[in-house]
């Protein structure tokens, strides 16, 4: 019996889909059987990030409405064996599925997979309700900016109301330099505000953009620091104790370069 994890945020654009794709891929790379479910009906993107767009034949609505079997709609990842993907419908909207149907679907997927990751749409309306309906726990993604934190707070409240209490926080797209200069909320500020456990801090990384455009999750790129952060999150989900990345020490070659040449940290 697996576990259903919803990846949610409230605010759009904070990296829910990226986090879902990367954590799911990392879990599968660690040998788990993983199903990724895109519940952003009408605005699907997870298929793009995974690079599986051209394999979609059936989708979530086909499954919930009985047009096809769940097995027929699940797409096997082209890179990893244990990774499967259930796409959202693009030509429908959020009302095409009900929380009850999602609960049923989640229960069904749990039978076959160790982890079921649900990519939640932005917002707190029907799409959110569908996504969290069958979830056992949640990963709340936020960015170091007050608008994202505010929405995350709202979402955590709603999750608690639907009896999902063991939510974990992912702070995505943090820029250590800016935090250092006091121009960006730091992780402590965010935790102080949201009061839930942190499961990972993901630095801003150009490679995320590149990997998204290529349809290859960044966790497969060993040189990507964001990918490393997502790999760590996956291990923490499995219960391992993994120290948090030292973001400052990992600013690429520049700090090292500066240290060698005795340059002060000008930036």
């Amino acid at each position: 019996m697996g576990e259903v994890v919803v990846v949610t945020s409230g605010k759009g654009g904070v990296g829910k889909t990226t986090a879902t794709a990367n954590i799911g891929t990392a879990l599968a790379a660690l040998g788990k059987r993983v199903a990724l479910v895109d519940t952003d009906i009408g605005l699907r993107k997870l298929d793009l990030v995974l690079g599986l767009e051209n394999r979609i034949v059936f989708h979530l609505i086909d499954v919930t409405s009985g047009n096809c079997q769940l097995k027929q709609a699940l797409i096997r990842d082209k890179r990893l064996d244990g990774l499967y993907f259930l796409p959202a419908a693009q030509t429908r909207d959020k009302t095409a599925v009900t929380p009850e149907q999602m609960r049923e679907l989640s229960a069904q997927l749990k039978q076959d997979f160790d982890y079921v990751l649900i990519d939640c749409p932005a917002g707190i309306e029907q799409g959110f309700k569908n996504a969290v309906a069958g979830a056992d726990r949640a990963l709340v993604v936020t960015n170091p900016e007050i608008s994202a934190v505010r929405d995350a707070d709202r979402i955590i409240g709603l999750l608690e109301a639907s009896e999902i209490t063991n939510s974990r926080l992912i702070v995505n797209r943090i820029r250590p330099n800016m935090v250092k200069r006091g121009n960006m909320l730091d992780v402590e500020d965010i935790l102080d505000n949201l009061r839930i456990d942190l499961i990972g801090v993901v630095p801003e990384d150009e490679k995320i953009l590149i990997s998204t455009n290529r349809g290859e999750p960044a966790v497969l790129d060993s040189s990507s620091r964001a990918g490393q952060a997502f790999r760590n999150i996956a291990r923490r989900i499995l219960g391992e104790e993994v120290p948090f990345l030292n973001l400052e020490a990992n600013e690429g070659w520049r700090p090292w370069f500066r240290r060698i040449f005795g340059l002060s940290n000008a930036r």
């Binding site: 009408g42 605005l43 699907r44 767009e53 051209n54 394999r55 979609i56 034949v57 693009q90 030509t91």
Partner: protein, 316 residues
Amino acid sequence: MKREDIVIKETKQGIVVSLDSSLDFEELLGRLRVRLNESKLEDLNSEGQVIVDLGNRDVSKIKLSVLESLFFEHGLFLKRIMSRPDLPKTATRTTAKTKSSASDKEKKGKKGQIKTKSKTKAENLAIEDAPISNKSKISDKSVILEEKDVASAEVASAIDLIEKAELSPKDSTITVKKTKNNSRNKGSTIASNGEVELKEIFKRSSDQTDTLLIEKSLRSGQSIQYPGNVVIMGDVNPGAEVIASGNIVVLGNFRGVAHAGAFGDESATVTAFRLQPIQLRIAGHITRPPDGEEATVPEVPEIARIRDGVMVIERY
């Protein structure tokens, strides 16, 4: 003319078919078919467009659809329907400017209507109620409104989807098709008393392949599903899908998902000026571009078809 009950004449606006209003509708249909068979109307130079004058007959929407199917069988399109109920209710005009002499002639000296025509302004116009004076002025728009009404509850998803795609209602081809479709759907639900003949008409008209013309691009999330051919004058973007029982022709970039021959017709084809599909389906075959290859934009129009059980894409 021997038979006074059906008068066919050619006017500037197209072929006008006047149907006698006293005759039983079923019988009228029969005679009309005979007439259409013997007079090669489609040879007349009017682009196959027909204006039907129903006189003061009160015709239900279903019967209208039947009429249309009948004309369609003979390669004709119902362009306009005229009706002159004895008591014109709301005379509807879109513009105050009216009546060329040509349409005056067609009025055959019916006076009562002339009054009503230009004064009253109304938005919604039920075609059956249109006084004759409106005939040359019934805008395509009002025709569409009418058909939307027709396409109400029982209409199959195909039509719903077409409407969802927010097709611009200017295109008369779409209009005609909608009604046709509709007639087909309703055909199956018609009671069997004496209307067997109608059923036959439906059946026969459904054997012919319709073509849906779409004069806009399809964006992500838009879906066209149509029992016939589909021609798109624009692009089809990723995330959009076109599903047709016949062929699909895209006069632009095709970057979405296409399913031609959706009912199993392996001779169906997908043609596009620039064929760069995410996925192509013809009948029971599914293909996608190979992984790992940089998508290149073809420089020529291409056609995809099934040859020896394999989908091939070649220069068109």
